[in-house]
């Protein structure tokens, strides 16, 4: 059994806690949240050992690993503290508020030999993994353009009073929604190394942006567009997609459906000339406990396997999340 504790039982934290609570290889040894109401609920009904101070929790319950799901502004301090104490860390996205902080944590985890992961769950979505596999196979020929998009209805009226509306605490559409898309682009194509120009626009929010439009350049010199808007009511829930154009074809993929057009399939198994359609149902492995989507269980399964030395620590590492933080910084400065 891996002894896991959780810091931050908000929207993502409580979902992680539920998945961990049902995990056969995990013993949830502690939960830390600042809300008395949340702690009361979790200790009363789930019999979780709840704390309001994470240091106290860590000292008392001595976890092997900790899931950090607090607002981003607290990530650096808490994660550093955990790493110094020799604890493996799964952190929610985005990783840190500055790339300098992130870099320090990447190095610290490396030096201490600790397992690390950041919760960019799209990496565990079957369609996106297939996009990555196809791109790596070279089937698209010379890639000349991409469009990464995400839309959804988070802020659809002028009213907000949480940390998400405060730019210094990691609020805003860029850190919340756009980071998912940037991370996918970094992973599937190549890390963003330059930003040619960006628009960060407020629609309803006063202090943060509700949409992000940006022209990106990757380390392999491919250029493309980022278009993200979390104030789009025409979507029922967050919808992330990526389109990639190459000399031998095109890929259009979201979390449910993968469309691939190939001029020449050149022996790519399961693909024919012209349009190919694949669904998430064909591309998703079963999970033991399902909550909100296979990918959320799959990412924690993976983390537990990494901590247990049953899998290599290669997906969603601090380092890969750092590339995304750096791209976010580049987008911010290009919009000024």
């Amino acid at each position: 059994m891996i002894k896991v504790a959780l810091i931050g039982a908000g929207k993502m934290g409580i979902s992680h806690l539920s998945i961990l609570g049902a995990h056969p290889d995990v013993e949830v040894v502690g939960v830390c949240d600042t809300s008395k109401m949340v702690n009361d609920f979790l200790s009363k009904y789930g019999n979780f050992n709840c704390f309001t101070e994470y240091q106290k929790m860590v000292n008392e319950v001595k976890p092997d690993a900790v899931v950090v799901a607090v607002p981003t502004k607290f990530h650096y301090t808490i994660i550093k503290d955990l790493l110094v104490n020799g604890i493996h860390v799964f952190a929610e996205k985005p990783f840190c508020l500055t790339s300098a902080q992130g870099n320090e944590l990447v190095e610290l985890a490396k030096n201490k030999g600790l397992k690390n992961q950041v919760g960019y769950h799209n990496k565990f979505v079957g369609t996106f993994s297939e996009v990555k596999r196809l791109v790596n196979s070279g089937i698209l020929g010379k890639i000349d353009h991409f469009v990464g998009e995400a839309y959804g209805p988070v802020v659809i009226k002028p009213k907000q009073d949480t940390w998400r509306s405060d730019p210094s605490e990691g609020g805003g559409c860029l850190l919340d929604y756009a980071s998912h898309v940037i991370d996918l682009i970094n992973d599937i194509l190549s890390p963003v190394t330059a930003v040619k120009g960006s628009l960060l626009k407020s629609i309803y929010s006063k202090n943060v942006e509700d949409s992000v439009y940006s022209l990106l350049e990757l380390s392999n010199n491919i250029n493309g567009i980022l278009s993200v808007n979390w104030s789009d009511e025409t979507y029922r829930k967050m919808s992330t997609s990526i389109t990639i154009n190459g000399s031998n074809g095109k890929i259009i993929s979201d979390a449910n459906e993968l469309k691939v057009f190939l001029k020449d399939p050149s022996g790519q198994k399961g693909y024919v000339k012209g349009w190919n359609l694949k669904y998430i149902t064909d591309l998703t492995p079963q999970v033991d406990f399902y909550l909100r989507g296979e990918e959320y269980s799959a990412q924690l399964d993976y983390f537990i396997n990494v901590v247990a030395d049953k899998a290599p620590n290669t997906i969603n590492t601090f380092e890969s999340a750092w590339y995304t933080d750096r791209a976010i910084e580049l987008i911010k400065s290009s919009a000024k």
């Binding site: 539920s18 009361d40 949480t162 669904y279 149902t281 033991d288 406990f289 909550l291």
Partner: protein, 287 residues
């Protein structure tokens, strides 16, 4: 419960495999009249139960049904609560406490009264009851013999081991609405164990059951085993496996399983509804 239940996913742009189809459905059903027309088509084919989320637009549909009580005599609705995205988006924006403040009727952080009795903020079961009441308002005057808890909530509580809340939901809908509680889940075997342990015998459980094993957590075999050996009222949903299985083959599989009381499906066109209904009747006669 009737053998065939009509679902509402197609009306609210829920399509598990295609965002494009979702959008097309969202446009097709932008007017309530289009929803009513499809419900009437389903009724003409002998389906008299509509299983639906507590989406805002269902309030309008309920008004139309209430205003035409003669026409809809005997028509039942199985509410499935809550409409999770409403709350999920609210939690993103307002946090958990902020969301409760917004949705729990009355002023949650002020003096909390219910039937004249004050309760403490620790009384989570009363909060649950208030939320159920809020969600049930739109169904006033309509037959709702089964009230379902949506899978996002059922499964969240299941993982948090808050079994007591699930059990309390069961008892509350019986007491207040004289209805049976139903539970939608993506983790049927685990849930049945928990409900039985909580003293609920023969519960109504709606879960993905399909030939492809899609969203049958822990594997298809354990689901088949539970259907064979355990006592519960099973509702099969996602029988087409999100479109991964050919319709005839999909229905044949579900109809061949023991102990499935009802089959839930949704479709946007009369031809598709008819096709599914005929397949169910055909394979029911065979098995």
């Amino acid at each position: 419960m009737e053998r065939i239940l009509f679902g509402d996913n197609q009306f609210f742009a829920v399509n598990h495999i295609s965002d494009e189809k979702s959008r097309a459905q969202s446009i097709k059903f932008k007017d309530d009249s289009a929803i009513i027309k499809t419900l009437d088509e389903a009724r003409s084919l002998g389906i008299n139960t509509f299983m639906c989320t507590t989406h805002d637009r269902i309030a309008n549909i309920c008004s139309i049904i209430r205003d035409n009580s003669e026409k809809y005599n005997g028509f039942k609705i199985f509410p499935c609560m809550p409409y999770a995205h409403k709350y999920a988006n609210a939690v993103t924006e307002l946090g958990i406490a902020g969301t409760l403040k917004q949705y729990v009727p009355g002023n949650f952080f002020g003096s909390l009264f219910k039937g004249g009795v004050a309760f403490l903020s620790k009384d989570y079961l009363s909060i649950m009851e208030l939320l159920v009441d809020a969600e049930m308002k739109m169904f006033k005057g309509i037959e709702t013999p089964v009230i379902f808890l949506q899978n996002v909530i059922t499964d969240l509580f299941l993982g948090l081991r808050a079994d007591e809340i699930l059990i309390a939901f069961h008892h509350y809908v019986k007491k207040k609405y004289n209805a049976d509680a139903g539970f939608i889940t993506m983790n049927m075997p685990k849930l049945l164990d928990v409900l039985e342990k909580g003293g609920i015998t023969n519960p109504i459980i709606c879960s993905s059951i399909n030939k492809a094993g899609f969203r049958m957590s822990g594997g298809k075999e354990i689901y088949e085993e539970y259907l064979k050996t355990r006592k519960f009222r099973a509702v099969a949903m996602q029988v087409l496996g999100g479109g991964a299985i050919a319709p005839r083959e999909a229905i044949e599989y579900v109809c061949s399983l023991p102990n499935i009381e009802s089959i839930l499906f949704g479709a946007s066109s009369k031809a598709n509804i008819q096709n599914t209904v005929e397949n169910i009747h055909h394979f029911d006669a065979e098995h």
